[in-house]
């Protein structure tokens, strides 16, 4: 369902993704781990059609992500570090607005059930700017799954959630994956947050270092550390740099 071939992304001269190759089947639940700057967020943004690759090919449901039309984009649910919410609207107004943007008919029942699923039913008509970090994260999750996406891309979904909210999120994600939704989420705590996953991908320096089944949760952290302890992948040697004098002559 997701096919990634030789994916590269550079921000100016800085390389964020350096030849990623990856296949993810429909219905898979995948955990994406790696140190900061490994390229996890960049990968999710490209899959969400929000960022253009510098090179390589990325296909989602057989469609090139750089040319994904609205039908493809609307099958994606994306949760980013940022909440993508409007501070000056209430929780309910935020969800109503996105429901209208997604062309949903009669969304009120769905909105009400999602708000109670994330435990915000009593704050539904308060402005988002008054919400705590954790409450904003809960509403952001509700926003991401509002339109019942077929592919969920979650960037550190458990960040800022208390234990109860984290459990509620797990239940919510379970109900979605049970109906065949594909899940790709990043985390820094695979052992604590990985119980939904079947497969773990380890990234570093814009490359996939390791890719395998989840295995025992209890040993996951140790395996993750062992993978990171391997020597880092080496960037290609720099092209010869010519030093030039003021006339442009090589020195």
């Amino acid at each position: 369902m997701i096919e990634i071939r030789g994916l590269k992304k550079a921000f100016g001269p800085r390389v964020a993704l350096d030849g990623v190759v990856l296949d993810i089947e429909a219905g898979e639940r995948v955990l994406l781990v790696g140190p900061n700057g490994a390229g996890k967020t960049t990968l999710l943004r490209i899959l969400a059609t929000l960022s253009r690759p510098t090179g390589g090919a990325v296909r989602v449901w057989g469609h090139d992500v750089t040319r994904a039309d609205v039908a493809i984009r609307r099958m994606i649910g994306f949760l980013s570090h940022e909440s993508l919410l409007y501070d000056d609207l209430t929780a309910r107004q935020n969800l109503r607005f996105y429901a209208r943007m997604y062309g949903m008919d009669k969304p009120d029942a769905r909105i009400a059930s999602l708000l109670s699923a994330v435990g915000l039913e009593r704050r539904a008509d308060d402005l988002v700017r008054e919400f705590s970090r954790g409450m904003q994260q809960r509403l952001a999750v509700a926003r991401a799954v509002l339109h019942a996406p077929k592919l969920l891309l979650l960037d550190e979904p458990y960040t800022g959630l208390d234990v109860a909210a984290a459990d509620a999120l797990t239940v919510l994600l379970q109900t979605l994956t049970q109906v065949g939704c594909t899940l790709l989420m990043t985390t820094h705590y695979p052992a604590q947050e990985g119980h939904l996953a079947q497969r773990v991908i380890v990234m570093r320096r814009g490359r996939v270092l390791d890719d395998g089944p989840l295995g025992e949760l209890t040993t996951l952290d140790a395996r993750y550390r062992a993978i990171l302890a391997r020597p880092a992948p080496v960037s290609p040697p720099p092209a010869a740099l010519a030093a030039v004098d003021w006339r442009g002559k090589e020195l």
Binding site: R52, R73, R74, Q93, M101, R143
Partner: protein, 219 residues
């Protein structure tokens, strides 16, 4: 597509109803601007009438940049336009939605500004033909302003950047709008060519905005 544009406008107005910060900031600024012009240029009697079109449009030009900065900053505050980009049918929907929303907010300011200017500048601005010029000028302003504000909010000095980018681009619009308003007030000068100029400006800038906006919001 129209439904999505409508949703964006309705969302902007709902947010404005909660905070009232854009309209109130523009109104307070506009009122102060007219007062300061009156003191600084000693606009009493005939000189007020003569300066009215210029004062009016200068006030709109400067207060408009306040509102537009804020309107686009609202989109940017929690993760840019990513949420919208995933949902819209085409990226131009965002351009039309934001421009229409800003147009409505600016029009609210103009509605207050015209009677206020009439009183302070001793001239009758409450005329349908002058209102028409206001609408034409505000349309072009909202189109240019939305495109350039989307650029400016992504730079370091956001609020400072927008007037620097927008005002030189607005030169033709301001000349035409001031001349049309002045012509209508004087009553003897034909203003057709200025009206035509405003319409052409509006159409050109909407076209440029629709075509280039998608490159501005690309991630």
């Amino acid at each position: 597509m129209l439904r999505q544009i409508g949703a964006i406008v309705a969302k902007d107005l709902a947010a404005e109803l909660h905070t009232r910060e854009i309209v109130s900031a523009m109104l307070v600024f506009a009122t102060m601007a007219i007062l300061i012009f009156s003191f600084a240029l000693d606009l009493r009697g005939a000189s007020g009438r003569a300066a009215a079109p210029g004062v009016l449009w200068t006030t709109i030009a400067f207060s408009g940049t306040l509102g537009l900065s804020r309107s686009l900053a609202r989109e940017q505050q929690n993760g840019g336009l990513s949420g919208l980009l995933l949902a819209v049918e085409e990226r131009s929907v965002i351009f039309f939605g934001k421009a229409a929303g800003s147009f409505v907010l600016m029009l609210l300011v103009v509605v207050v500004l015209l009677p206020l200017g009439s009183v302070l500048l001793n001239v009758n601005l409450l005329r349908p033909d002058i209102a028409g010029v206001m609408v034409l000028g505000t349309v072009g302003y909202a189109a240019v302003g939305t495109l350039l504000a989307a650029i400016a909010v992504n730079t370091r000095a956001r609020e400072v950047m927008l007037p620097i980018l927008a005002l030189p681009v607005l030169v033709p619009l301001l000349i035409a709008a001031v001349q049309a308003t002045a012509g209508l007030l004087e009553g003897m000068v034909p203003v057709d060519s200025w009206i035509r100029m405003l319409v052409v400006y509006d159409l050109v800038m909407i076209a440029v905005g629709v075509v280039t906006f998608e490159y501005v919001v690309e991630g």
